[in-house]
């Protein structure tokens, strides 16, 4: 409202005008307020319905979630029981591990004993030759006496008969021969035992893997041999020209032992089921580029697919309690993959047999770089 330049006389009318316009404005404002209030009233009803619905839903939702939580509480309790059982299992496994630790301690002992036996057996083996030579000379002498003092004195004649000299002379070479064979065998076994459980394992050494394979076969000798209930297991060796391979040979022998042991188990089991199939283990070795390949195949019953996927899992075994711990292949896998940067894989067909393939680098330094 601009009042400047107005005449004093107009003031009354102006006053009235002011009241009028402000009244009009006031009415306008009230009308507006009324419209807004009206709208808000409409709103508040629908809003209230929404709020009430929301409360009902929230109530149900929370109830159900509480029920679910109670459910999961009892599931948790069940899990607790399952965990207790599992912890019991772990204890059993632990005691088995201690057992296998003892076995490896035994391995060390065997290696030491083998070392100790090595010398005395050496004496025996080395002296048989002299013994044979000396005895042959003595025999020659006896024959000479026989020729020169013919007929012999009666007392000597009696002695010749009582000691069965003719038999002795015929048997002595045979006795010597079997002493030879026995001593040789002891030497071989001792060598294998020493070779198998090497004591010096702190670093890689370049070795002839065939020696390791042969030692392992030697130790498994009795298991490969037949008995009245089953035939011998035939071992075919297709050894290629391998260079010396850098490895922890004792550990690798352990791998050979596990795989060959499994193969023997599979063949024995197979024989019980289908006796007329040949029991055969084939070992093949060959160099390939930077690596060597060692495959060990058996003509056993094969491994079902479901088992194949778990083969390398620790504690996975299909063998009866007490026979298998299920650690053989998992340890072997670790030895090949982690200690030797190699690969251990299995290929198997049901009814035809199983092949394990070991691939390891010839030189570890090259493999790491």
């Amino acid at each position: 409202m601009n009042t400047l330049g107005m005449n004093i006389l107009d003031m009354d009318i102006l006053d009235m005008d002011i009241t009028n316009t402000s009244l009009l404005q006031r009415i306008k404002d009230l009308e507006k307020e009324n419209r807004i209030l009206h709208k808000q009233l409409q709103r508040s009803h629908s809003d209230r319905v929404q709020v009430e619905n929301k409360y009902a839903r929230d109530g149900y939702l929370l109830q159900q979630i509480i029920r679910d939580l109670e459910g999961s509480k009892s599931v948790l309790e069940q899990r607790g029981v399952a965990l207790e059982l599992a912890s019991h299992d772990i204890q059993t496994i632990q005691s088995k591990l201690i057992e296998s630790e003892k076995m490896s301690a035994l391995g060390v002992l065997v290696a030491e004993v083998a070392h100790e036996i090595n010398n005395p057996v050496g004496f025996i083996y080395g002296n048989i030759e002299y013994l044979e030579r000396y005895i042959n000379k003595i025999i020659e002498l006896v024959h000479l006496y026989k020729d020169q003092y013919n007929p012999p004195l009666l007392i000597i004649q009696d002695k010749i008969e009582s000691i069965e000299l003719d038999f002795l002379l015929r048997d002595i070479p045979k006795v010597l021969q079997s002493m030879w064979i026995g001593a040789e065998r002891i030497l071989e076994i001792v060598k294998s035992l020493r070779n198998f459980s090497r004591l010096d394992e702190s670093e890689y050494r370049a070795v002839d893997l065939h020696e390791g394979l042969d030692s392992t076969l030697m130790i498994l000798h009795s298991k490969l041999e037949g008995d009245p209930t089953r035939p011998q297991i035939e071992v075919i060796k297709n050894y290629g020209m391998l260079p010396a391979v850098e490895c922890y040979s004792g550990k690798l022998n352990q791998v050979f032992m596990n795989i060959l042991g499994n193969a023997i188990d599979a063949l024995v089991e197979q024989y019980d089921l289908i006796p007329d199939r040949p029991s055969r283990i084939t070992i093949e070795t060959k160099p390939q580029g930077e690596n060597v390949h060692i495959t060990i195949s058996d003509s056993g019953g094969g491994i079902p697919e479901a088992v194949q996927s778990r083969l390398f899992d620790p504690f996975f075994t299909t063998k009866p309690v007490g026979k298998g711990t299920g650690l053989g292949l998992s340890i072997s896998y670790q030895i090949i993959a982690e200690n030797h940067n190699g690969k251990l894989s299995c290929h198997s067909t049901i009814g035809h047999g199983t092949t394990f393939t070991i691939v390891i680098p010839i030189s570890q330094a090259d493999a790491l770089s």
Binding site: I36, K39, Q40, V51, R57, Y60, L61, I65, D68
Partner: protein, 384 residues
Amino acid sequence: MLKVTIGHSNDPDSESAISEVIEQCLAQFDSDTPAPIAALLLTAIDFDHQLILDRIHAKFPNIALIGGTTDGEMSSKLQFSQDSLVLTLFYSDDIQIQAGVGRNLSHDPIAGAAEAVKHGKGQNTETPKLCLTIAEGIGYDSNAVVEGLKEVLGDRFPIFGGATADQQRFKTSYQFFGREVLTDAVTLLFLYGDLQFSCGIAHGWKPVGKIGTLTEVASNSVVKIDGQSATDLYDYYLQGLEPSPEYPLAIFEEGGEFYLRLPVGSNRETGEINFLTNLPINTQVQVAFATREDVLAATQDSFKIAFDRYPGAHPDVALLFSCFIRRQLLGTRTQEECQWVNKFSRQELPFVGFYTYGEIGPMEIGGKVRLHQETFITLLLGTC
């Protein structure tokens, strides 16, 4: 320089409301302000929209105007208000703004989006900095229009905006373009020039209970979850009450991230649940739940992220897009959402925003844009 003036009236009478709003805008004019170049009009559903547009046209004949109907409006003028009308005018001498529209979204949302982009760019060969969009929120897969915009503008082009609403009647909502009142359309503003902006987005919902997999979907509805009627999952928690938007489905993506989709009804005979967008089959879902505190905490997060990330000195305006269900859930505390603006901005900052049927934006500038639900998006705009 970017300047806005805002008029906001809660007078239910269209004629009085628009005059009041224009008056407010003009009162903020000073002599050295250039003429406004663009306008954003947000209104409740129960107005005479044609009359309002005619009045604006009479006052600002050549202004690039977009807008639409909402489920609640907010501004620095009147804070939060339902059944109101808010007009924002943009002034600048160095920012250019151009508007575009695409129609017949329910027929082909991708083509509609492409049409709007083409229209909006016109003869301008420059690349816009930002796109503000207001799109239809009902009656088709509103997700598709966003995908359509991305197809032309690029996956990571900054697009912000919201889907129009109709106060939860889910019948018809309107979009405004120039002098036209439209439905089934997408409108947009392209902003060109030396613009600074940042965004923040958050929701506050947490997945609870059973995890299911969407095993059958059909356009905007979910038919089967885990091979069972979709309603079974909700019935399990809501004892047969209608699935409602406060309990959205969390849709899990690879990597364990999830976004939300809100149910707007169900068909008891077929066991289907209806949504405002299509849902992807074979994804894992879980019912999600939020308290008012969760929702308000998320609003603060949204502001905090946006203000922390603002690249310039201070923004000139904040645009806010909030899901309609946040308003419903917050009830009398809805005010609190927009009141946080001034706590985070260290100076008086004009803001305007609305409650939508779908919020559009990326998780961060340069991120992938998506149509969100249940979220609060803060967009800060400025020139320095």
